[in-house]
């Protein structure tokens, strides 16, 4: 891995290597856009996937760490860029023209750190109110509630967005631009709408039944999890993982536990690893079941919801017996899992594995083959492989576009390298492919469960960890596979009991951001089809 940074420095002498746990280089802002273009386009590097942008406040500097991945060479590198300008108006050059998803990621950094991205076409806040005072993730942020009182009036709206540029003297210039054209007929789909699966809002400009443009408007369920984590001890940060994508609660928990264990050098027992992986895969089946149910309901086939929920209920019963909860399990902990498995866990999982294939067959008979369903889904919302990578659409949605992006295969963690399962990759890239991809992933997850259910080793389910957990100084980045795609975690520690910065890169934000791109020119009903097939979870977008 170390040679990738050397290679970059050789190709781009202005960059310097940063020593740390993960390969990372740093570059001055003035050269950053050139380096980004090189990283993306050079044949030997090909970093075509922008995983996330971690905004950072190192007190004396503001800056960003860009995590890039090459889908061809399967390498990850971090690029650290310090912001220019004063602390009042810090700026970095935008890379929105290189990676489409950067438009959204840069908005997020702007929202939390106030770093302006020169050249980003849409530099509004992403989550917080338009008139929010201060940038909450800066270390000198004033938390006084009097500054940002709970508003008793309607939310302020604007039809304008800002674009920033540099003039000849190097000063930042602001220009207002319209989001929609002047006479557009704009319909609000959301925030309270049955098809957005939560409080998400699409401002949709329509021309009759045709969609002209969609403006994604999120933040209605933003809880500031990243900010909250900075004031909590490591074990306390875990429970937030249940509250983002609540269907991948186990997977996210698993991811953060693994990252903290890696940082602290804790080795966990094999029994705990097997339990974690089984819970992950059970979650995946339950999550995909719910996807099938709600998606079919969005398309008007209400009955399918009940058929799909039958299986999901069975899984939730298994979870309830072991974890004591049907949602927000808080089951994985640092060092293993909270409790041992329930006595009839094995038997219940076997019962599930027996009914699952019959159910999948039934779903296919009643829905997948239906001529109306096929007309609604086939060829609707086609996302090409290039766009999927550029917009960072991971998970089953990305795999349906032909991008093999399963982190369980790319960076096998826990015991995934020993397991025999297939990565489901399809090529059509339409809504039907996204639907079928999930259907087949359920079968693959069942395959994993079948391999493990009879081989749960004996041993302790949780190793002893120190009561007060301090991590060494350093930063760690890790990618795992949630139910909906690549789940990135960046942890920076200053040697304390609390994280200095915990950045969560959820899979759902890019999936919601891509909706505008693939719905243009389609019908209103297709927005529901496409949005549903992306299967985003709003608390995961907003955090």
């Amino acid at each position: 891995m170390a040679n990738i940074t050397d290679k970059i420095v050789k190709l781009f002498p202005d960059a310097t290597v940063v020593e740390g746990n993960d390969p990372m280089v740093t570059v001055a802002d003035s050269r950053w856009h050139d380096l980004a273009a090189l990283l993306r386009d050079n044949e030997e590097l090909k970093f075509d996937y922008l995983v996330t942008i971690v905004g950072m406040d190192w007190t004396e500097h503001l800056g960003c760490i860009y995590y890039l991945m090459s889908t061809e060479y399967n390498t990850v590198v971090g690029v650290k860029v310090l912001a220019e300008g004063t602390r009042e108006t810090p700026y970095i050059h935008s890379v929105a023209d290189l990676w489409a998803v950067a438009v959204t990621y840069e908005r997020e950094v702007f929202d939390f750190f106030g770093i302006v991205f020169i050249g980003n076409p849409d530099m509004r806040r992403l989550f917080l109110n338009l008139d929010w005072k201060g940038y909450p993730l800066r270390k000198d942020y004033d938390e006084d509630p009097a500054l940002n009182p709970v508003s008793t009036e309607s939310e302020r709206q604007t039809d304008f967005t800002d674009v920033y540029s540099l003039d000849e003297n190097g000063n930042v210039q602001k220009k207002e631009v319209r989001v929609f054209e002047k006479d557009d007929f704009v319909v609000n789909i959301g925030p309270q709408h049955p098809a957005t699966h939560g409080v998400l809002r699409f401002r949709t400009a329509v021309n009759g039944e045709e969609i002209k443009k969609i403006d994604l408007y999120c933040g209605y369920i933003h809880r500031g999890i990243e900010k909250l984590c900075e004031n909590l001890a490591y074990p306390q940060t875990l429970h937030f993982m249940d509250r983002m994508d609540y269907f991948s609660a186990h997977n996210y928990h698993h991811a953060l536990c693994m990252l903290i264990e890696k940082a602290a050098g804790i080795e966990i027992s094999r029994r705990a690893q097997v339990i974690r992986v089984m819970m992950d895969e059970l979650s995946r089946i339950a999550s995909h079941c719910l996807f099938i149910g709600t998606y079919c309901m969005d398309l008007g086939a209400t009955t399918m919801l009940f058929y799909a929920l039958r299986v999901r209920e069975q899984i939730l019963d298994i979870m309830e017996k072991t974890c004591g909860a049907r949602m927000t399990f808080n089951y994985e902990c640092i060092g293993g899992v909270m409790q041992d498995l329930a006595p009839d866990f094995v038997q219940d999982v076997k019962a599930l594995l027996e009914v699952l294939p019959k159910n999948i067959k039934e779903y296919n008979e009643i829905f997948t083959g239906n001529v109306i369903a096929r007309n609604r889904m086939e060829g609707v919302g086609v996302l090409s492989r290039e766009d999927a990578i550029s917009y960072a659409v991971t998970g089953p949605s990305g795999r349906a576009s032909g991008w093999a992006c399963d982190m369980r295969k790319l960076f096998p963690y826990s015991i995934y390298s020993e397991l025999d399962f297939e990565e489901v990759v399809m090529t059509e890239g339409d809504s039907m492919a996204r639907f079928k991809c999930r259907m087949r992933e359920m079968e693959e997850s069942a395959k994993i469960l079948a391999q493990l259910v009879d081989n749960i080793p004996e041993g302790e389910y949780c190793v002893k960890v120190p009561k007060v957990l301090k991590l060494p100084v350093g930063s760690w980045f890790q990618l795992t596979e949630g139910c909906r795609g690549a789940f990135g975690l960046y942890l920076e520690s200053d040697g304390n009991t609390k994280p200095y910065r915990l950045k969560i890169a959820p899979p759902c934000l890019p999936q919601a951001a891509v909706v505008d791109h693939i719905t243009r020119g389609q019908k209103i009903a297709d927005l529901i089809t496409i949005g549903g097939s992306m299967d985003y979870i709003v608390p995961d977008i907003d955090r």
Partner: protein
């Protein structure tokens, strides 16, 4: 076969014997009106229960089972709730049209009741263009929906009513053409006449191939006319929240709700009239004993039984199929149903002219 006309004639005669003719007609009209309202309300309540139970069965649930035995009183409770709910008054709407719309919808379905063949001698009005009248009054309903969507001053309702307008106007063509096909076979537009024509054999058997095609097209178009799934685009809840009636509350919403179920009954009633003999029992030429036994079942039971059975099919559609998209819906009508219908009409005429029917 039991004939209910003795009842009506007796009533008419006894009224005329005690009061002048104009007054007795007024009294009869009032009686019929009250009776119709009663039937209307009871049918709606039955249909709500019926659909909920059926839908529950399709979805592996039990459905209403708490209020009354087997949940029978559930729909009464629902209706009572609807009656006492507040009607929310909105600003920025066209008040007159907003209030008028639900009444237009309900009047349309009410008028259609007048010509349905309820039983032998139990038709409220039987005149020579009965089926034509039925098609005419059932198109008034779309006006109500358009007004509701427009007067609410809401973008969702507007899109919903535009969809509805496009859908209703298109599918009325199919309904009209399949009705004409059957009228050709019957040789009359009078509802009573159509039923009498089926005394020996129901039209779906008599007209064989074109009649079956017309029946299938009628059922598809009829489902679309009632705005039910898979054609429920005007109120597609996952797209337009509730479509044209998003802004309605209380009993005004209740009217739309009732009218939807009653339209379901009317569509299935007309289907049973045109294809399954209306109130006519199942007769086969030559099977005298069988025909005689069938005559013992009262004609009212025949009619309502057929209508409820056909409604079952429409409800089955709704709880099985996903929803169509607006362009698919329109292309289904204009590119497939309409040409098939026209060819079918020609086929039917050829069969009648050559006497190839049974």
């Amino acid at each position: 076969m039991q004939d209910f006309s003795f009842l009506t004639t007796w009533l008419d005669n006894s009224l005329r014997s005690i009061m002048p003719g104009w007054l007795s007609v007024t009294v009869e009209c009032l009686l019929v009106g009250v009776g119709l309202l009663l039937v209307y309300a009871l049918l709606a309540l039955f249909y709500i229960y019926y659909e909920r139970k059926l839908c529950a069965a399709f979805q592996c649930r039990l459905g209403p089972n708490r209020v009354g035995p087997w949940g029978l009183l559930q729909s009464f409770a629902d209706m009572f709730k609807m009656l006492i709910k507040e009607i929310i008054h909105l600003n920025h709407i066209d008040r007159f049209l907003f209030a008028l719309a639900p009444y237009l919808v309900i009047i349309a379905s009410m008028l259609a009741f007048a010509v349905l063949p309820w039983g032998n001698g139990l038709q409220i009005i039987d005149f020579n263009i009965g089926i034509f009248f039925l098609i005419a009054v059932s198109s008034i309903g779309v006006l109500g929906i358009l007004l509701a969507g427009w007067s609410s001053n809401n973008k969702f309702t507007l899109i919903g009513s535009l969809r509805s307008g496009a859908q209703m106007v298109s599918y009325e063509l199919s309904i009209g053409l399949s009705v004409i096909t059957m009228v050709c076979l019957a040789g009359t537009m009078s509802v009573g006449g159509i039923v009498q024509e089926q005394e020996n054999l129901w039209f779906i058997f008599k007209g064989h191939v074109p009649a079956v095609i017309a029946f299938i097209i009628y059922m598809i178009a009829g489902t679309a006319e009632t705005n039910r799934g898979p054609f429920d685009l005007p109120e597609a809840e996952s797209e337009l929240t509730a479509g044209y009636h998003t802004e309605y509350s209380g009993m005004h919403f209740g009217f739309f709700y009732l009218a939807e179920y009653l339209n379901l009954f009317i569509v299935s009633g007309v289907a049973s009239l045109l294809f399954l003999g209306g109130w006519m029992p199942l007769h086969f030429p030559g099977w005298d004993a069988f025909n005689h036994i069938m005559d013992y079942i009262p004609s009212v039971v025949w009619f309502i039984g057929k209508a409820v059975l056909l409604s079952f099919v429409i409800i089955w559609f709704k709880w099985t199929f996903p929803r169509l998209r607006i362009d698919q819906l329109l292309s289904l009508e204009w590119k497939y149903l309409l040409p098939i219908n026209l060819v079918n009409l020609v086929l039917m005429v050829l069969i009648i002219v050559n006497g190839w029917h049974f």
